[in-house]
């Protein structure tokens, strides 16, 4: 009797209406999560308001698994020293690095160069072939807030798919089976 | 095998109540002390260590079914034979 044997009984005792109700509440959770995410996108102006740091290139500031909160207000200018999250053509994963050089023209177009704190060279080697500068359209967001370690769960999920399915299955089962 | 099966792993209701209350008290206490201590010496890592210690302590004290959580076993009524009439109607007298 180490573990709760009642789980199956609970399922058994559930009638159709209750099951539908559970499905609905499950859908509620999913849709409200989506709503919060989309709402954050509107508020922060960033297409991905929360990112998980995936590499050690910004150590010791950010480690793998740290969580960053981004904003990307267009009227807010990019400046040197800021930590930007940018996308490079041909790379799926956005990169989190610090702006090292910046040149702005009269008409407001900005080009800038980034570098990871833990890297000894700037990022020109990481950009798309022939790309020398980043521009505003490459930017996903600017780091504004920081929370350590919380993103570790998603890293484990991505690296160990079995773990991911186990977690999802447990959550799904719990939501479906658990009765108020 | 029977030996293992007979190891009691449950708490009684009273013990359950006590265990949960105790674990909350321990974690809250360690959290408060950790917060204050960390603020005094301005080291957040110390706060985290203290909360971690509280977690370990609470896990040791309240998760295993120690005998102290099994002091009030349930008293069960005798089983009634099947053919008994339902006149005694064991509907529980509850505080309304």
């Amino acid at each position: 009797m180490l573990f709760d044997q009642g789980v199956l009984d609970e399922l058994w005792r559930m009638n159709k209406r209750q099951f539908l109700y559970q499905c609905l509440s499950f859908g509620m959770i999913v849709s409200s999560a989506l709503m919060i995410w989309k709402g954050l996108m509107v508020v922060t102006g960033s297409e991905s308001p929360i990112v998980v740091v995936l590499s050690g290139s910004m150590e010791p500031a950010f480690h793998r698994g740290d969580l960053l909160f981004l904003t990307n207000y267009q009227e807010d200018p990019v400046r040197v020293g800021e930590i930007v999250v940018f996308k490079v053509e041909g790379r799926d994963i956005p990169i989190v690095h610090r702006v090292l050089k910046l040149h702005e023209k009269v008409n407001g177009t900005v080009k800038f160069l980034t570098k990871g704190d833990n890297n000894s060279v700037d990022d020109r080697g990481l950009y798309a072939p022939g790309q020398l500068w980043l521009t505003k359209k490459d930017v996903v967001g600017r780091a504004r807030g920081f929370l350590p370690y919380v993103g570790m769960v998603t890293i484990y999920m991505n690296e160990y798919p079995k773990f991911k399915y186990a977690v999802l299955a447990c959550l799904g089962l719990y939501v479906l089976v658990h009765r108020e | 095998m029977d030996y293992f099966r007979n190891i009691p792993v449950h708490m009684d209701f009273d013990g359950q109540h006590k265990a949960e209350k105790l674990s909350r008290i321990i974690i809250t206490l360690f959290g408060a002390v950790g917060l204050i201590w960390g603020y005094i010496i301005q080291q957040f890592s110390q706060t985290v260590y203290i909360v971690g210690a509280g977690f370990v302590l609470a896990a040791i004290v309240t998760v295993p079914p120690w005998p102290m959580y099994r002091r009030k076993p349930l008293i069960w009524q005798k089983p009634r034979p099947d053919n008994e009439q339902g006149d005694s109607h064991q509907k529980p007298k509850k505080k309304k």
Binding site: L2, F146 | F44, F55, H89
Partner: protein, 245 residues
């Protein structure tokens, strides 16, 4: 699998305890004042719908399994600890939210030279290349508190040219992780990064040097603070070194 027969209430011998000390169990709190249906449901939870005719005492073991198991208790403990941890982290972030991180940082540019050479870091076009040595004197020890993980201190050169109205180049930076290392006194230090202009517009231009720092917290807001002190000087009017293609 299991032979199931719904039980009437009369069929079950309820233990006499349940109006005394079981009120804190979730299945009891929900049904504290049972209506007809909820009492039925209570009984469902209580004895299940199995054949109990002969040994109703056996319900006891089933009932025990309805109590909190080891897994339940660990789950409660972990989730409560995480909640407390989150509150503590929030309190820590809040406690430093309104602190001022400005400090005066003295900076002086020395030995300024201009070269006009091919920019090997980009497209090998002839660009202006500046050599700047500098002094920096700043005491950032007071910035460290329990919510500061590191300071990223950097020296920016800011200028305007005909091509670009606004240019910023970081010439030096330093990561400081401990309070003891936060007293900076640099004398005649060479720049750490190449100072290339985007074009050839550095001659006779004013440039402003200033120190800024990025405060990385343990948790909370990332802050960027610039020193109010700056050092403004003029680039030379002649190149020291010119390469013609």
């Amino acid at each position: 699998m299991i032979s199931v027969r719904p039980l009437s209430i009369e069929h079950v011998a309820l233990p006499p305890f349940w109006n005394r000390n079981c009120y804190f169990h979730e299945q009891f709190t929900v049904h504290r004042s049972p209506s007809r249906t909820s009492s039925n449901r209570f009984l469902e939870n209580f004895v299940f719908r199995e054949e109990l005719s002969q040994k109703q005492c056996e319900t006891r073991s089933i009932f025990c399994s309805r109590m909190h198991s080891l897994a339940n208790r660990s789950n409660h403990l972990v989730s409560y600890t995480l909640t407390v941890m989150a509150i503590i982290t929030g309190a820590c972030a809040l406690s430093t939210r309104f602190l001022r991180y400005e400090r005066p940082a003295r900076v002086v540019g020395r030995r300024v030279e201009l070269h006009h050479i091919p920019n090997f870091t980009t497209d090998n076009a002839l660009n202006d290349f500046a050599v700047v040595n500098f002094d920096v004197k700043v005491d950032l020890r007071g910035l460290f508190n329990w919510n500061v993980k590191q300071l990223f201190v950097y020296l920016t050169a800011e200028y305007a040219t005909d091509d670009n109205v606004f240019n910023q180049v970081v010439v030096w930076d330093e990561i400081i992780e401990r309070r003891e290392d936060a007293l900076l006194d640099l004398n005649d230090v060479a720049s750490e990064y190449f100072f290339w202009d985007d074009g050839s517009g550095l001659r006779n231009r004013n440039v402003t040097l200033y120190v800024s720092w990025n405060v990385i917290p343990v948790a909370g807001a990332l802050l960027d603070v610039a020193s109010p002190l700056t050092n403004r000087f003029l680039f030379p009017s002649t190149y020291k070194h010119v390469v013609t293609k």
